[in-house]
């Protein structure tokens, strides 16, 4: 119950902010942070629950963005349709990737997903309709009546996506699917022996995770009014999507959310404060510090604190 109140409050807050006179910059920065919430949550479904480290986030994200571009260019589809289609396309890609690679364990799976990025990237570069390597500039339609600017609307859309993503992740976590995935993470053989349909579950997680990543990418072309392959299939998306749950904590749906908000905001702040090479360093250093010093992320730290607190009493 508490969770659903939180959900409603978040959506209401996002919409309220967007309709209020809050500074426009907030929505640009907020959009990016929310986008990372979706990506980190999506990554965690496969990476956190099932322990399959997906490096291909950029591939799913990029395919989502390009699906939206194709639909927009071809039929001028509205944003909602673009997002749905992007989720389908990336979900399909996730399913395909899963079929091909889920029998691989550990880092082999990770490398295979890296390969998916390069293949998708190359395919888009060779596809002239979406601008090829040059990229494509888009003129976005006017915003919906209620909103002052298109970016405000995109911010709300991304907030809804983030909330939806978290709901899905939470559902998976508490349902039998999540239990199955955790069993896979702990010991795949044991899970298989005790009757967990491992391949089916992994395929499901891969598809859902991919679809969410695609949905996160879908509004990007409208956000930038421009899309080109090098930055859409940027490996940095993969690294961030992995670093955020690691920093937040991978075992609970709240972990990636905390990690994304934390790291995403730090990235945004550092970009406009330190603003030189050092801001690239931030992700690296934070990632290393957290995996070394706080293997269970922020959530793990909080839990430890709580435990200390209790035991001191």
């Amino acid at each position: 119950m508490k969770f659903w109140i939180g959900v409603a409050a978040t959506v209401a807050l996002a919409a309220g902010l967007a309709l209020s006179g809050t500074n426009e910059y907030f929505f640009y920065a907020g959009y990016v942070v929310l986008q990372f919430v979706v990506l980190a949550t999506a990554w965690n479904i496969l990476g956190g629950y099932a322990g399959y480290v997906n490096f291909g986030t950029a591939a799913f994200f990029g395919i989502g963005a390009y699906t939206a571009v194709v639909l927009f260019k071809a039929v001028g589809a509205p944003l909602g349709v673009q997002i749905l289609a992007a989720a389908c396309a990336s979900g399909l890609l996730g399913f395909g990737t899963g079929l091909l690679t889920l029998r691989l364990r550990g880092i082999f799976f990770s490398i295979a997903t890296v390969a998916v990025i390069f293949i998708m990237h190359t395919a888009i570069v060779n596809w002239r309709y979406v601008g090829g390597a040059t990229g494509v500039q888009l003129l976005r339609p006017p915003a919906m009546p209620l909103f002052d600017s298109y970016t405000r609307m995109l911010f709300v859309v991304m907030a809804v996506l983030a909330v939806a993503g978290v709901c899905i992740a939470r559902y998976i976590e508490v349902s039998w699917i999540g239990r199955g995935l955790r069993a896979i993470r702990d010991s795949e053989e044991a899970a298989e022996c005790s009757g967990v349909p491992t391949l089916k579950l992994k395929l499901f997680a891969c598809t859902v995770s991919g679809a969410l990543m695609g949905a996160a990418g879908a509004p990007l072309p409208m956000y930038m009014s421009f899309l080109e392959p090098a930055s859409s299939f940027d490996l940095n998306y993969s690294v961030s999507a992995l670093a955020m749950p690691m920093i937040g904590g991978t075992s609970h749906w709240l972990g990636p959310v905390i990690g994304a908000i934390l790291l995403g905001s730090v990235q945004q702040i550092v970009t406009v404060t330190i603003s030189n090479e050092i801001n690239v360093l931030v992700v690296g250093v934070l990632l290393v510090v957290f995996v070394v010093a706080a293997p269970d992320g922020v959530l793990g730290l909080l839990r430890k604190l709580k435990w200390l607190h209790r035991s001191s009493r």
């Binding site: 910059y25 959009y31 390597a133 040059t134 421009f226 603003s275 030189n276």
Partner: protein
């Protein structure tokens, strides 16, 4: 104690009141990522302009405050940075980041808000958006402005066939498409046409293929890393005696570290440029001397022919327009920029309706007599002999290519 600090604070705010608020100029500049090297050199030139103006007493009697962020050559970051500049930092004027990719995402934003945007070496970025308050500083307009010089020189040398080698990335592809059209129009027969992917390690195979195709002209559109690798490969393998002209759109051969380390293997190559010594623009030599000193400290491109003068020119154009209109109003400034010829250290600039130069002047120059491991030689005219455009021309192209290399 508290009182003292209160009084002190009061005194400060009084001083602040006495001095007019600064003119805030903001931009994002790639300082890391693929355009980072050029971006840093360009930024230094703009900083010099800001210092110069402030030393003279500022704009309209107000100091300039220059706010710059690093966009890491990542287009996804620039919309956020520019809204921050506009809405949080409340800048009065904005300048575009160096390059097309970081600039493209901010065009709709600028148009929607009706802002003046000074472009920065981008390529046809206003083509779809068609914003009438956009003014680019680059000496080229469309693809033909870039390549017609090269093709013209080639035809003059009696060329009948052409080969293309182009990086499979945004800028090079735009150029290549333009060049292909132009070559067809000029009646040149294409005997080889290859796009290559980013991060190609070795070009030997492609150079060999070009050699086998025996073209008269080889038009190369490449990015810095590739340019260096290509020059090395032609040095090692040779492009054959059929080739009269080699080069055209190789980005990176304008950068000092590359020129110095490639040294004599540059000889013979005819390549585009924005400025080379020998072009007599008023004030440019003084600028370059001052730049050289500061570049040494800032560890950026020590010669700075390619980007820095044009970035300084951005400042000069703003300065001229503001002083003439006595205003920071974007519309008024844009009108002024449209109507008047601007005087800069890269010569007079007049803008066409699309905000690109009305009279593009991409220089094509041939490397000659370059020796190894010597940076100073490039400061003197004659190492890069201007072949195009006619008004700056110093000499004729030496053909064929292998002869121009002195081999």
């Amino acid at each position: 104690m508290r009182l003292a600090s209160f009084v002190l604070g009061l005194a400060f705010s009084a001083a602040a009141l006495a001095q007019p608020a600064p003119v805030k100029i903001g931009m994002s500049m790639p300082q890391t990522g693929s355009l980072g090297a050029g971006g840093k050199a360009a930024l230094l030139a703009l900083q010099m302009w800001v210092d110069d103006v402030n030393a003279k007493g500022g704009l309209l009697g107000r100091r300039i405050e220059f706010i710059v962020y690093d966009d890491q050559t990542n287009p996804a970051l620039t919309p956020g940075i520019y809204t921050k500049l506009l809405d949080v930092d409340k800048v009065d004027l904005i300048i575009a980041p160096y390059g097309t990719v970081p600039t493209a995402p901010i065009m709709p934003l600028v148009k929607q808000r009706g802002l003046l945007l000074m472009g920065n070496f981008s390529f046809q970025v206003n083509h779809t958006v068609k914003h009438d308050m956009w003014f680019n500083n680059s000496p080229w307009t469309d693809a033909s402005s870039w390549s017609d010089g090269f093709i013209h020189i080639g035809q003059k040398a009696g060329a009948k066939t052409i080969a293309f080698l182009a990086a499979d990335q945004e800028f090079a592809q735009n150029l290549a498409n333009g060049a292909r059209t132009l070559a067809k129009k000029a009646g040149l027969q294409t005997v080889y046409d290859q796009n290559y992917p980013p991060a190609t390690v070795d070009f030997s195979a492609m150079i060999r293929a070009i050699r086998a195709a025996r073209p008269d002209i080889v038009f190369v559109m490449s990015y810095p890393n590739d340019s260096v690798a290509i020059v090395r490969a032609i040095n090692e393998i040779g492009v054959g005696d059929s080739v009269k002209l080699f080069g055209g759109g190789m980005v990176g051969l304008q950068f000092t570290p590359n020129m110095v380390s490639l040294g004599s293997s540059l000889n013979g190559i005819v390549n585009y440029n924005s400025y080379v010594p020998g072009v007599k623009y008023p004030g440019i030599e003084d600028f370059l001397q001052r730049y050289a000193k500061r570049a040494l400290e800032a560890k950026v491109d020590p010669l700075g022919f390619y980007l820095p003068p044009f970035n300084y020119a951005i400042g000069q154009m703003l300065e001229q327009a503001i002083n003439a209109t006595k205003s920071l109003d974007h519309r008024k400034l844009a009108d002024y920029l449209h109507k008047h010829e601007m005087q800069t250290i890269v010569g007079p600039i007049r803008f066409g309706p699309d905000g690109e130069w009305a009279n593009p002047r991409v220089i094509h120059a041939q490397f000659r007599g370059v020796v190894d491991k010597d940076m100073e030689q490039f400061r003197h005219p004659g190492r890069q002999v201007i072949l195009w455009p006619e008004q700056y021309k110093i000499g004729e192209a030496i053909v064929p290519f292998e002869k121009a290399r002195g081999k």
